[in-house]
Every structure is written in structure tokens, then in C-alpha cells.
Symmetry: C2
Subunit: 352 residues, 2 copies
Amino acid sequence: MSQPTTDPRPTLEAVAARAGVSRATVSRVVNGSTGVRKSLAERVRRAVEELGYVPNQAARSLVTRRHDAIAVVVAEPETRIFADPFFGLQLRGISKELAAHDSQLVLLLTEGPDDYARVGRYLAGGHVDGALAFSLHLDDALPGIVRATGVPTVFGGRPYWSDTRRDVPYVDCDNRGGARDAVRHLVALGRTRIAHITGPLDQTSAVDRLDGYREVLAGADPRLIEECDFTSAGGERAMRDLLDRCPDLDGVFAANDLSAAGALRVLRERGLRVPEDVAVVGFDDMLHVAEQTDPPLTTVRQDIEGMGRLMARLLLHGRDRGQPPGTVVREAPGAEPAPVVTQTTLVRRASA
Amino acid sequence: MSQPTTDPRPTLEAVAARAGVSRATVSRVVNGSTGVRKSLAERVRRAVEELGYVPNQAARSLVTRRHDAIAVVVAEPETRIFADPFFGLQLRGISKELAAHDSQLVLLLTEGPDDYARVGRYLAGGHVDGALAFSLHLDDALPGIVRATGVPTVFGGRPYWSDTRRDVPYVDCDNRGGARDAVRHLVALGRTRIAHITGPLDQTSAVDRLDGYREVLAGADPRLIEECDFTSAGGERAMRDLLDRCPDLDGVFAANDLSAAGALRVLRERGLRVPEDVAVVGFDDMLHVAEQTDPPLTTVRQDIEGMGRLMARLLLHGRDRGQPPGTVVREAPGAEPAPVVTQTTLVRRASA
DNA sequence: TCGCCCGCGGGGAGCGCTCTCTCCTGTGCG
DNA sequence: CGCACAGGAGAGAGCGCTCCCCGCGGGCGA
């Protein structure tokens, strides 16, 4: 590892020699052959094939200043990458999109100030063409650090400062709209005492979902809102507190599926039937969770992998928009960096 | 993105000029200052600081043929990266270790033959110093492809062909030993009809755990073994089948926590008490699962993050071994590439 | 005192590629 | 039939860095 790989890899020169042309011609053929006679191009291609030539990315980067690589920066991975499949799915979407553009994915996981400095240095070092950044918490320094490097960046999830600075390209699902749909569904079911188990309110997704709830249920009893943390254990606790406080509640909108699952357990434990006595709606349509709760969870689906793809696309294409039809709800009109908010869909199962 | 980043980054030359020395001297200072007078080195360091100089990795790689980057190749991510935190934790360990060595992590997710070819090309292109490969299934072509590129590689989990070819560096936990411990624990509890819910038997981890079970319970009733798939839904199904077949069973060793959780649900559903009527042991000590089942799951813990670190370390250090004391159970004696098998520990909770 | 050796610092080549500039060839038109 | 022009191919200059090799100077032994 410390010593260089023994490296008899053929160079452009070698290919050129074999094809009987100049380096320049080979180069032209290798990167999109414009203005090279067909016969020659073919000969070059054959030489490339025979020699198993692969361009040296380092040499290429040196002159082009492009790297065909983007960084994915994740703040505090313990929070999300491990607890739920959310980040993995997003990563998958990103990976697919990058692969389609022959770009590499450099993963930078951070878990503290030291790491932040390291990431800042790396990004500032100009080793990548852009960055996709994930940060969940309001007070997280990472977004600022990433922005400070000047590297083109797209954020995953609405950053909390997107309110004050509008020049922030991000991709997020329509948390607020999804929450509205969820609550409206409960209302349509005739529920009148609808509680909300929130997510951690230092995350915009949780805040936006709460806003959506409030929007539909303006003037709702504040005791029906219980702050929670997106975990199933938290959901259990929250549900208990809510039931103790408001035994008459007949609907619950949980800010994510995990806390909904916790809530369901407590409801059953208390002998309440779902959905007859209490209807429950979650959020995320999380893999391996929403379908397997008892009863299966009605929830708000977001296309997580699609959001990942979108982030990558936004970063790679910069200006030219190529979102899959139907997913885009809103775009900042004309503004340079365009936040993209993707639609959610209510998935009806048995719990509401 | 398509156009190069505007790049007024200072070069070695600039630093040299500012410090009043030659490029070579600056280079020496930048990469571990050997043989440079202290005063000069200090002056250089100041110049670096003032100019905010960051070495151009591309230029450096071009001449050194090192990249300070390793690839993490994951076959069929849908299988694992999303369903459970296993891979995320391992990634975290890898990331930490790489960060400590100033190496970058290039993530290559694959999900089909096209991707395999792409990955093969990338690795063969010599863009990274080494690779860490994860592949689960017996018939997966990825390991072969990775090996064929000649890039130094460490595998995550014992590859199935490690039996026939011993020159395979991999890191895995002691699946067999852990399984033995689990089953012996059940035996020590006085259980005599101990069932086993296996994992998918095209994965070595599942096979090894089954072997461990068999090793302790030689000649066990084969009807006590039910093949399953590492999912909780599968665990439910398996448990039902087992109970239908052998209503007198009094112990269950599930090949992972997820299937154990499913089994627990079915046991409760059937009115069987855990651990009084049936004692249950899982495997993995999976985050957010083992502690939250009802009752909390006795299980076999593996240090997943540690295994990630170990993989990275093995790859980076090559020959010089620096494992944390205590974790290493076995190493191929003297052989070049050393498989590392990490110890597991039985975590006793309420289920057995 | 002189010479030699050693240690520090500098000069310069060149890693493999792209890209501009120039040259050459072939074609079409006057 | 000659000339101009266009388009295709080659030569060459670096991109920023490392590292080899050499030169210079100081210290020490003869």
C-alpha cells in the first residue's frame, strides 16, 4: 500500500505508437471523437482495446482541472446512516446518477470538529468537482464550512438558513405538504382529536411536518402535540404521554414511521384498536417498517432514492434541468440555484 | 460543473517564492520534513499558511502513482446497505481508519452486470491504492472481477472460495464460534430441543452460524432447522413452521436479530412465554433492534465498526499488523494475506 | 592548513495528459 | 490547371508535483 502499484499500464503514447498516429489524435478519439477520420478512429480504438488502455485520471485532472468526482459529505452519521435506510437509499440514488455520468463518489463521513476541518481542507483542496452535503441539525457547522470552500454544493434536505439566504440549492421532499395530506386524511376519516408526534425540532424536516399539521389544524389543542425524536422508543414514550394527557384522542400523525411504530405498540398495549379507536398515519414509508407494523401503516411516501438522483443531477448539470416529470413541485423561478421540492404520496394501508 | 472550477490556488512554486526557497524544499517540508533546517522549514510553513496552499493531489499522484484513496465496492446494495445498519457501521469504521491515514473513500455501489464492468474498469484504471469489497452471495461475480484487476483487496466477510484459495485477505467475525456460544448458552440453560432459524445459506456467515449450531448439537433433529433469510418477516414464518413441526421446542437460536425479532413476535402470538417456555438467542446485537424487542434479546455481539477499521487497516498497512489487542482470534500463520477473524461476545439480556 | 565527507538545498527532468497552434493534404472553384 | 480554403493530424508546451542528482559549504581528521 505504501509503495506504488507496479504499473506497466499503457500510456497515450503507447496507443498512439501502436495505431501509428500522434498522441493528440488518440486523445481526440478517447474523449468523444470529433474531427477524426473514421478509419483512423477505428484503428485507434482497436489499439486502445488491444493494449487495454485506461486514461490516467491524475494526468487528465492536472490539465483539465476536472476530477469527475464529487464528494458526499455527511454530518454526524450516527444519527441517520445507521438508524434507518434513509441515507442508504439516497446514497444509492446518488451513486446511480453519478455512474451514469462517469463520476466517482467520494464519501466523507464526519463526526466532530476535527473531521469538519479535514473535510473543509479536502474540499478547499479542489479535489472534487462538487459536493452533496447532508446535515440535519440547526446548529451544525458543516454546511457553513462546505459553503465556505466555494465548491459547488447541493444540500440534502432543506437547510435551516434557506429562509434567510435564498441562493441555496437543495433537494427535499414536500414535508409540509405531505404532513397536510396526512392530517387531512385523518380529518376526512372523521377524526376530531388528532395528535402529532413530532420529530426533533432542530431538524427542518420535523419542523416542516409540524407546520403542515398546524396548517390544517389551526388552533388545535397544543396538548395534542408531543415532541419526539424520530425513534420508535421515543414514539412509545410520546404516545404514552399523549394518551395520559388526552385519553380522548382518535387520530395520530407521527412525523416518521419509526415513531409511528412505537405509537402503535403503545396503543395496542393500552387495548386501543387501530384504526377503529385511534387512526395512525406515519411519514417516510420506510422500507421494512411501514409494511410490517401491526396493523400495516398508512403513511406518507417520499421517493428517497429519487431525491438522491435529483441531488446529483442538480449538481452535475448545474443549470440545465432534467428532473423526471411529475416529481417537481416547485422551483425557485429563474434563480440560479434551484431548490427542488419533490412530491409525496399518501400510501393507504390499514392503520388509517 | 462541466467547466473547471476557477482556480487561483497557489502552487508549490508560489510558496517557494514567498519563502525564498526552491520548490524542492517546500515539497520536502510539506511531506514530512526530513533534512530541512528548522528555520527554513518554519519559514516554509508560514508561507504555506499565509497562501493557504493545498497540494494538488492530481499532480502528486501523477508522479508518485499513489492516490491516497481506496475504493469500497459493494455488491447488490439493496441486500444490506438499506435493510440494516450493518454496512453503515462498517463503512463508518472504514471511514475513520482512512481518515486517520489521510486516505479518501471512493464508494462504488453496484447492482448489476453493467456496474460490475464499470467497477472493474475503474479499479483496473489504477485510480485507487486498494479496494475493500463486500459481497454476500456465493455466485456473485464481483469478487472475481475485483481480484482480476490486481488491485490489493481486502474482503468484508469470508468469501466462499476462501476454502480453496487461502491467499484471500478478509475480515469476518467468528460466526461459527459465536453460534457455538449461543447454542451452548441455551444448552447451559437446560434446553434440550433447540431450534435454529438460519440465514440465507448462500452466504458464508449464515453457513458458518449453522455449522456452529451443528457443531454443538451434533445429531440434532434436522426438523429443528429452518432455513430463513435474515428478515423479520422471514423469522416469523420460520418460527411458525418450526412450532407447527416441533411444538415441544424450548430454545431457538436465530441467525440474526431481525429474524429473532420475528420469532419473538410469533412466540408471543402463540402464547408462549420467553424465556420461560422458549429461550431465544439472536446474532449481531443490532442497533435499535436487540435492545428493543420484547423481551430484550440475548444475542451474539460482533464489533461491526471495528471490523470496518480492521479491513481498512489491513489494506493500508499490508504486512505490518496493528490490530487492537484482543480482537484477533486467528491469523493465517505467516501467509502473505492474513484473514482476520474477530471475536464475538454473548450479550445476555432477557430472552435467554 | 588542506582535503574530504556529509548534510542541506536547488536545478531540472519528466509523470501522462490536453489543447493550441501549425502544417499538410485534399477538395472545389475560378 | 492553379490557387485558396477547410478540415484533419501532429508537434510541443506545459499542468503541479516529486525526486534524482549535483553543488556548495562547514566541520573534522590528517
